[in-house]
């Protein structure tokens, strides 16, 4: 199957572009970003705050099965134009990592299809590299945990 989500990251730049085409009218694609309950569902996080307006703020929090908070992020919305664009910042709490700037563009392709283009700008190339590596590092941790579990069961 063709990879629908594409990441474009050039070596000498400190931004990256994520693109994705959806089998959804642009109105529904945008609604998935606008409605806090729907955001919570697909992002798999609790939405504490989502003020969809210029100078509004947002706050997400994710907990593990035991109720411990594992991820907390927040930011400010700089621009919010329904069915067209969102400009916002993104910052993780309790991590010494510079905020990033995100430009989300929503585009109608046909009545039933749409495209999202998300440009993320990082403070430096090094910041971008660290961010790109996070899911890889998480996979690494999971692998370690899994190995520990297997090892524990062997005892």
């Amino acid at each position: 199957m063709e990879k629908k989500t594409k990441i474009h990251a050039e070596d000498d730049r400190h931004d990256l572009v994520i693109t994705r085409e959806f089998d959804l009218p642009v109105e529904l694609l945008f609604k998935a970003y606008e409605d806090p309950e729907i955001v919570a569902q697909w992002m798999g996080t609790k939405v504490l705050k989502l003020e969809n307006k210029k100078h509004g703020g947002w706050e997400f929090e994710t907990s593990d099965a035991n109720g411990n908070v594992v991820f907390k992020a927040n930011g400010v919305i700089h621009d919010f134009v329904p069915n067209q664009k969102i400009v916002r910042t993104f910052e993780m709490d309790n991590i010494n990592f510079a905020p990033q700037l995100e430009f989300l563009e929503f585009e109608e392709l046909t009545d039933e299809t749409s495209k999202l283009t998300m440009q993320i700008i990082y403070k430096s190339i090094e910041h971008r590299t660290t961010q790109l590596k996070l899911p890889f590092a998480q996979g690494l941790n999971m692998a370690h945990n899994r190995l520990e579990e297997i090892a524990a069961n062997l005892k």
């Binding site: 989500t5 994705r20 959806f22 959804l24 529904l28 569902q41 790109l132 890889f136 996979g139």
Partner: protein
């Protein structure tokens, strides 16, 4: 520095973790793009930069340690080549990031199919 890495086939292998540090430096990226076109001697590489030969040697050494470059001997001369296999490994680092977004967007799409505009 090495670390455990679980591949999709569940085979645990050792990899170097500093490949990203290697390519974070602009001079080292420039060296990689030079040798990507053709194999070069350390002297020929250094001619492309204002930095001292020693500095360039140090960069070449780091790239070699990360296996991004490999060398062949031709008479007295050492030639450095790009190791495309290692470059592919860098793509693999990005793949979990892409997969994370792809999973989220797939979920978004399936949820929104239940709604009417």
């Amino acid at each position: 520095m090495t670390s455990l890495y679980l591949q999709s086939n569940n085979c645990v292998m050792e990899i170097r973790r500093d490949v990203f540090q290697a390519i974070a430096d602009p001079t080292r990226r420039a060296i990689l793009s030079l040798v990507a076109i053709q194999a070069m001697t350390p002297g020929a590489i250094a001619e492309n930069f204002n930095s001292s030969r020693q500095t360039i040697s140090k960069h070449i050494q780091i790239l070699s340690e990360c296996e991004l470059l490999h060398q062949t001997q031709n008479g007295r001369e050492i030639y450095y080549h790009l190791n495309p296999e290692k470059m592919k490994e860098i793509d693999k680092f990005i793949e979990p990031f892409r997969k994370m977004w792809d999973d989220r967007f797939n979920k978004l799409e399936s949820i929104m199919k239940n709604y009417k505009k």
